[in-house]
Amino acid sequence: MDSIARLGRYGIDFTFRLGESVLFLVSAIRGAAASLSRWGLIIEQIYAVGVLTMLITIVSGLFVGMVIGLQGYYQLVNFSAESSLGLVVALSLVRELGPVLSALLFAGRAGSALTAEIGLMKATEQLAAMEMMAVDPVSRIIGPRFVAGIISMPLLAALFSAVGVLGGYLVGHGQFGIDQGVYWTSMQTGVDLVEDILNGVIKSVVFGVIVVWIALYEGYASAPTSEGISRATTRTVVWSSLSVLGSDYMLTGLMYGG
């Protein structure tokens, strides 16, 4: 009986949080619209979520591109099709790995920091103090972070893909001596501006919304204790990673299935 009650409580709790997070998303979008006039706040947040994530994105992008270059070459050379290496590298990066991996890095690097920051603000009653001073914490705190995340994510994903393509070029041209014209031409004939690159950008915008939404909500709804903040931070990373991977599957199905 007890375990059934626990299951029921879990279900109610889960549904409650789901509904609360959607209401939170609505108010966050309203706060984001209100914060658009305060460009200074947004710039500060772009620095915090975007610029500070730039280095890890570039380094990972370089290595991911180089690994695809290596693996792709080892397989393609069996069919003497190593001239398609550029296409393999570019398509896998632009369509999938760029948006997805940079979103996972973004969740780990920026999302967790957002949750911890807002959770601590809540625990130290800074948010309550703002309300006392008639400052709306949603438009002062949540809005700018939401906008900054949505602006940063596609830029980071593009950076990831571009660096990765260069990494693949380093391996393909530098290590295996694939002609540079062949590398770039196979890419240019096979990659489409709308179907591949624009869809990749759309994906990364969606992922940006998902990650900042979860991160901000978890911080905002966290229990105001040190334990509560640590659990909220963990939940941010776990749930935003899962949501990114799950929605990527659906987006890919929608974009390339038709």
Binding site: S80, A81, A90, L156, S161, T185, S186, M187, Q188, V201
Partner: protein
């Protein structure tokens, strides 16, 4: 706590520039869309069979890219594929007896149109149609012919 505002702004500026530059690089260098940003003129050629040729495939003369395939459609009267090619304006001195053939880059590579310029004094212009064309080589047909000739011996 935060660094001074101007430092932050400079870093955000660098970040946004880097992001936009990567987007531009993906658009131009990776998808090759910026390639034919210059003016082009369109010529057409009828083939018996275009094989796996696709839109945006390169048009080359001796391995140098001079344009791209703009579209492929079926001629409604003759039921043969018509390939339209957008050639860059700077290559506007192609003789009107230029031939076109559909070639493959490597054994499994992508197909492209190879132009072989003729010797006429009259140059191709917008909307002209190439007379001499050679269709894509189809591996299945070649194998079929080979087997047939083996039988006859």
């Amino acid at each position: 706590m935060m660094r001074s505002n101007s430092v932050i702004e400079i870093w955000v500026g660098i970040f946004m520039l880097a992001g936009i530059a990567s987007l531009a690089m993906l658009a131009v260098q990776v998808s090759g869309s910026g390639f034919s940003s210059g003016e082009t003129y369109r010529i057409e050629a009828k083939f018996e069979n275009v094989g796996g040729l696709a839109s945006n495939a390169p048009v080359m003369i001796g391995g140098v890219r001079v344009g791209r395939v703009g579209g492929i459609r079926i001629d409604p009267e003759e039921y043969v594929p018509v390939v339209s090619m957008d050639i860059e304006k700077r290559y506007d001195q192609l003789p009107d007896d230029t031939g076109a053939s559909i070639l493959t880059a490597g054994l499994l590579g992508a197909q492209f149109v190879g132009l072989s310029p003729g010797s006429s004094d009259i140059y191709l212009e917008e909307g002209d149609e190439l007379e001499f064309t050679q269709s894509a080589v189809q591996l299945e047909t070649l194998i079929g012919q080979f087997l047939y000739s083996q039988d006859n011996q």
